[in-house]
């Protein structure tokens, strides 16, 4: 998919494979002068990992809140799994699972009691006052999911004793109980240390493989979005770039060669003389733009002290997009 430049509206013709179709979505909070979400349109295909990126206040959580029915939009249309947000919110709720930005667990209950409440509210199992009285299918599912996430031994402990990482894992167990077709993850790793972040993503990859669910992610960690099938960058409520991470990077950033020499004047004269486009930062950066690094290096006679190529990250592209918009 093609990346788009700042503020240009992106429109798509929804296809049968699209599990999320958002058209001209607008949200203006009461008393606000500007729209928090300002006429955005996008689609997400079934099975994709879709990442919604943007700085604080860009409208990511507002978008996810609308798509999960916890916030009413000001205008616009959204279909989730074929269910219209406005006319069939209950159908949407059955289709989606969500891990909220702030943990939404009852700290006074045990982990299993939180999961049981969720399972009964979703109509998966009948009410029973104790775990032991719940149907075998429920008990097996809880054991299976908690084992995947490595918290099976903590399931009967009060949630108030859990660490941040364990609470996140418990929320994942809970959100997967009803086998959602679309899983919304609103900054799922915020507040977690590096080890917990990595472990959580390992679990999420496993969950994706096993459930084939569509994953809609918002995150501040750009490295987490590198694995996404597609990304969408929001700024001030508008879409400012959209496409595969590779396409967005390619459109906005360039791979370049960095060289330096003890005799910089000689190197500068040689590059100018051979017509090699470059800039000094103070090292010499030479955009590759389809040129081979090897060919450029072969053409330079001045002895070099530094040689390296730089492939820009998604973060570089992201910062460039935001700077433009």
């Amino acid at each position: 998919m093609r990346a788009t430049a700042a503020s240009r509206e992106v429109r798509h013709a929804p296809s049968d494979r699209d599990t999320i179709v958002v058209t001209d979505l607008v949200k203006r909070y009461r008393g606000a002068e500007l729209n928090a979400v300002d006429g955005i349109s996008f689609t997400v295909q079934a099975g994709e990992l879709f990442a919604l990126l943007g700085p604080n206040g860009a409208g990511k959580t507002t978008t996810i809140s609308i798509l999960t029915t916890t916030l009413a939009p000001t205008s616009g249309v959204a279909l989730i799994g074929g269910h219209d947000l406005a006319s069939d919110p209950s159908g949407v709720r059955r289709t989606v699972g969500i891990i909220f930005q702030k943990p939404s667990l009852d700290l006074n209950l045990t982990a299993e009691e939180n999961v049981r409440l969720h399972a009964i509210l979703y109509g998966l199992f009948p009410y029973r006052p104790f775990f032991a009285l719940m149907p075998i299918a429920y008990r097996d599912r809880v054991r299976e999911l908690s084992a995947i996430l490595g918290i099976e031994r903590e399931m009967f402990k009060p949630v108030k004793t859990f660490s941040g990482g364990m609470k996140r894992k418990l929320e994942i167990v809970r959100s997967l109980m009803h086998r959602p077709r679309v899983l919304f993850l609103d900054e799922p790793t915020s507040g977690l240390d590096a080890a917990s972040r990595r472990a959580l993503w390992d679990y999420l990859r496993q969950v994706r493989l096993e459930t084939k669910a569509t994953v809609f992610l918002t995150t501040h960690y750009l490295d987490e979005a590198e694995d996404a099938d597609r990304i969408c960058i929001l700024d001030k409520g508008k879409i400012v770039a959209e496409g595969t991470p590779a396409a967005v990077k390619q459109d906005l950033t360039h791979e370049y060669l960095v060289v330096d020499a003890a005799d910089r004047d000689a190197l500068r004269r040689e590059l100018v003389g051979r017509g090699v486009v470059h800039r000094e930062t103070p090292l010499f950066e030479i955009p590759l733009d389809g040129l081979g690094a090897h060919a450029i290096l072969k053409s330079i006679d001045t002895p070099l002290t530094t040689v390296r190529t730089v492939a820009p990250s998604l973060e570089d592209a992201y910062l460039k997009v935001l700077a433009r918009s």
Binding site: Y29, R30, T68, T69, T70, L71, A72, S90, G91, R93, R94, V96, I98, F100, K102, P103, S104, L105, D106, L107, N108, L109, E113, R116, L117, H118, I120, L121, Y122, G123, P126, Y127, P129
Partner: protein, 262 residues
Amino acid sequence: MIAVGELHSILALAQRDLTKLLRDRARLITTVIFPFIFIGALGGTLSASFGRAPGFDFLTLTFTGVFAQTLFQSTAMGMISLVIDRENDFSQELFIAPVSRYTIIAGRILGETLVALPQALAILAFGLVIGIPISPGQLVGLIGTGIIVAFFGGAFGVLVLAFLNNQRAANQVFPFIFLPQFFLAGVFTPIQVMPWYLELPSRITPLRYAVDFVRGVFYAGTTDYQHVVLQDPAANFAIIGPAFVVCLVIGTFFFVRSERNR
């Protein structure tokens, strides 16, 4: 007709509130002790001063009044947990569930009613200890009317909370709403004769009908009935029933709207 799934959800939500109470010993003790002060101290002093001079026993009047008031107020105040859930981010888990919003509110009302019941049982036990004559029939009547009054209080609480944004506002507003009702509803003193400027607010006080409903059943067939009860229990129920529905529907509508329309 409530679907089976919705009924299971109501029970699960109600159990959550009861579980939380049973795990909070400090709250359990304080909620039981508070009504004793009203009955023992206030009722006791009034009874000592007036005895049966007005034609009925003051202590029994206070006992029945506090019984109804405690259940009504406990469930109404318990609805503040809806706002606490919102502040703790737990309400988003509830409101994303594919169940009716009325089911969620009904579950909370049932839960807070269950939370109020230990208080009701403690009051009954205390009443028996201090010598209030309660027949088995009256005991059944008190428990039955008490549950209805608790439900009514819960719906009233939802209506009030629908217009409050946070726990702090709720804690400030609820005492202002309840304190005048104690006197306008005749919780501690009879209100058969009132000046016109109190009669009018008394008639729009929900607690008045709750207290009189409990007393109407408790005093049925006794000589004190005519001195204490304002109107027939059936008439009170005819007001409480529709008022419950109106409070529940309007309260839920505005509460959910305040959740989604920010």
